[in-house]
Amino acid sequence: MLHEFKYLAPRRRAELLDLIAEYGARAKVLAGGTDLLVNIRAGVMKPDFIVDAKKVESYSGVGRNDAGALVFWPATTINDVLQDARVRKDFPLLAACGHDLASYQIRNRATVIGNVVNASPCSDMAPALLCLGANAVIVSKKGERIVPFKEFFTGVKKTVLMADEILERIEVPAASAGVRGDYRKLKRINGHDLGIVGVALAIKDGKINFAISSAAPTPVLVEGLPEKIGADEAVAAVDKAISPISDVRCTKEYRAYMVSVYVRRLLQEVRG
């Protein structure tokens, strides 16, 4: 690691928020580190301060708020989510998106929030959060605001977060418990890989939501399709919403094609 930074590990929430307010864009929050440290090593990010969120009490584990929503904190890892009994029982789509994310060692560190907070288009968790109508709870010294996930991503690697704010919680509404869904991820090998494209489907409140990763500048939600929608129509609706590119990983033609294949197969598998 070449770049020099100051490491801070606040133990209290208020302290963390003070630090973020004070240092703003000069600081980066450290959760799992599996994204941030890779970027620092590559010289892509050069923060003056690293604020470790993991030592703040209550910032770990899979929680539940008063409204019965599933709550993910800054230090909630992918494996925490996969191993949570409530997730397995009531939120299978979260498990489907998480289980093929990177490798086991990475999932012991990588966090749900970390997976989405940099608006990477190839986020595996974002499709689930979009389909399930999750909310981003954004917090700063000044207070709290809630942004539905479908409004959280604004552009390539851009979110609505301001420099003095952190994404403190992700809340998956209790109403999404029991939602049927699944995720298909195209990879170059059977082993751990970034998604070349990924498609999630959820059937919620009699409507079908699709969310697609790696096929647009941000993860994309196509929501509220009629539950009985025909496969061709569904493919067309999704195709309209995505804009895949050709890059080192794949051509845009095959990406678009595989999205359509996944849409059809997910409809077949989840809906029947």
């Binding site: 770049h3 440290l37 890779v38 993991k54 490798s103 086991y104 060692q105 012991n108």
Partner: protein, 161 residues
């Protein structure tokens, strides 16, 4: 910054640069060179160690994050001069060739067996998915894990045509 942690049951306290990784700290500051660096970017698993009971890629953890932590590395695996059951199985089944991935691989196998005493072949492969090996082709590693977990191995030997 000061860091105090335990490695394989022994306590260590050192001054460390904030931008030093746990991997570098273990290898260079403490001399535990059994754990290796293969990529420095969390892809290959050669740097896998236990931190507070969970396997992690130590190249993706800062040494300062490990303050107060309990670390286990390959050096703590053999006790009292005897190989552990996993090491013995690896030796028996030729799961080692150049040896560079071995330390991390054994840590991942150990972790797998702690949470799943009798993993299927697919579960074994998923368990070591994050540990690259360029030499063995993984099959003999899978066989070693089947053996040490008391399960049957199918097609273990070379045939004579």
């Amino acid at each position: 910054m000061k860091v105090r942690l335990t490695v394989n049951g022994g306590t260590y306290e050192r001054d460390v640069e904030e931008n030093s990784t746990l991997l570098r700290f273990l290898r260079e500051d403490l001399g535990f060179t059994g754990t290796k660096e293969g990529c420095g970017a969390g892809e290959c698993g050669a740097c896998t160690v236990f931190m507070n009971g969970k396997t992690i890629n130590s190249c993706m953890v800062l040494a300062v994050e490990a303050d107060g932590a309990s670390i286990e590395t390959i050096e703590g695996e053999a006790k009292g001069g005897s190989l552990s059951a996993i090491q013995e199985a690896f030796d028996k089944h030729h799961a080692v060739q150049c040896g560079f991935c071995t330390s991390g691989m054994i840590m991942s196998v150990k972790e797998l067996l702690q949470r799943n005493a009798k993993p299927t072949v697919d579960e074994i492969k998923e368990g070591i998915e994050g540990n690259f090996c360029r030499c063995t082709g993984y099959e003999q590693i899978v066989e070693a894990v089947l053996d040490v977990s008391g399960q049957k191995i199918v097609k273990g030997d070379i045939n004579h045509a």
